[in-house]
Subunit: 147 residues, 2 copies
DNA sequence: TATTGTTATACTCTATAACTATA
DNA sequence: TATAGTTATAGAGTATAACAATA
């Protein structure tokens, strides 16, 4: 299959779904859902912010985020502290355990990626990651109709 | 946001979701669902096959495919003919109207992609598409655990 | 009056099991 | 007996509306 004449969205969806399938057993082993990992990854990258800011950043519904954070908090991976500046808001932050769990999962995922894309030379894998990152930034800077 | 240190699956998901969001209004205008378009696109590329083969090729549940094909058939975009070799099976094929609809939608989607990724030079867009296609092929050739 | 976190409810999408007709 | 298509049902995932506390 050439797969070269397909739309970008279709190509992204196919590659994304395959990689997500390969991630699942890793996440399962560490007792994390896909969205759990998305939250931990974002907290590791962004300064601690409010729940609403987090929901918007990862494009997840704020109502669904509640139960997710409940689980992560009960597992000791994050903390929810009241914001001194605005007592309605709660600031979410990663615990050392949360960061350790996240780092371990990421290491395994990177190894899986290298294995899954083994047919591609190392240099091309890095190029693909950079190209994807640039594309994400590019579409991000063009806030379309729904924005 | 650098977005360069993220996992491949996360990058694919983010770019894919944004592009899918941008596709929706186009598909809506042509009265097609995302999966409708996936089916039409596959039929345009692959020789007419059975329903089960189609479901497997696009990785869609065979039971959900029924209602989808019902709609496409009622709209005159595809045909379902009994396979003379195996009277249990039905061969799905694109009608001229179906191909015209598909081509029109694809043209608009390509224009949308060029617009959404306008910040990226044309050459890099083409490189991204090729890199994604090669990556899809690469993971496809490594049938993992669940396979 | 508007907003943050929360809960409860309704809706959509997806997966499982069971049926028919052919093989 | 197994398979292609089909149907009906149950389950997970998602979105919408309403509420309490604070701004």
């Amino acid at each position: 299959m050439p797969a070269d004449d397909q739309d970008l969205a279709a190509l992204c969806a196919r590659l994304g779904r395959r990689l997500a399938d390969a991630e699942r057993p890793i996440l399962d082993a560490h007792e994390l859902s896909m969205w759990d990992y998305v939250v931990l990854s974002h907290l590791a990258r962004a300064p601690a912010g409010t729940q609403l800011a987090l929901a918007r950043a990862i494009r997840y519904d704020k109502t669904r985020l509640i139960a997710l954070l409940d689980g992560l908090e009960a597992a000791g991976l994050i903390t929810r502290a009241p914001d001194p500046a605005d007592r309605r808001a709660k600031v979410v932050a990663l615990t050392p355990e949360g960061e350790a769990r996240r780092a371990g999962v990421q290491r395994e995922i990177r190894a899986m990626e290298a294995d899954a894309l083994g047919a591609l030379p190392e240099a091309e894998r890095a190029r693909l990651r950079r190209a994807l990152a640039r594309a994400v930034d590019a579409v991000g800077r063009t806030p379309r109709a729904s924005g």
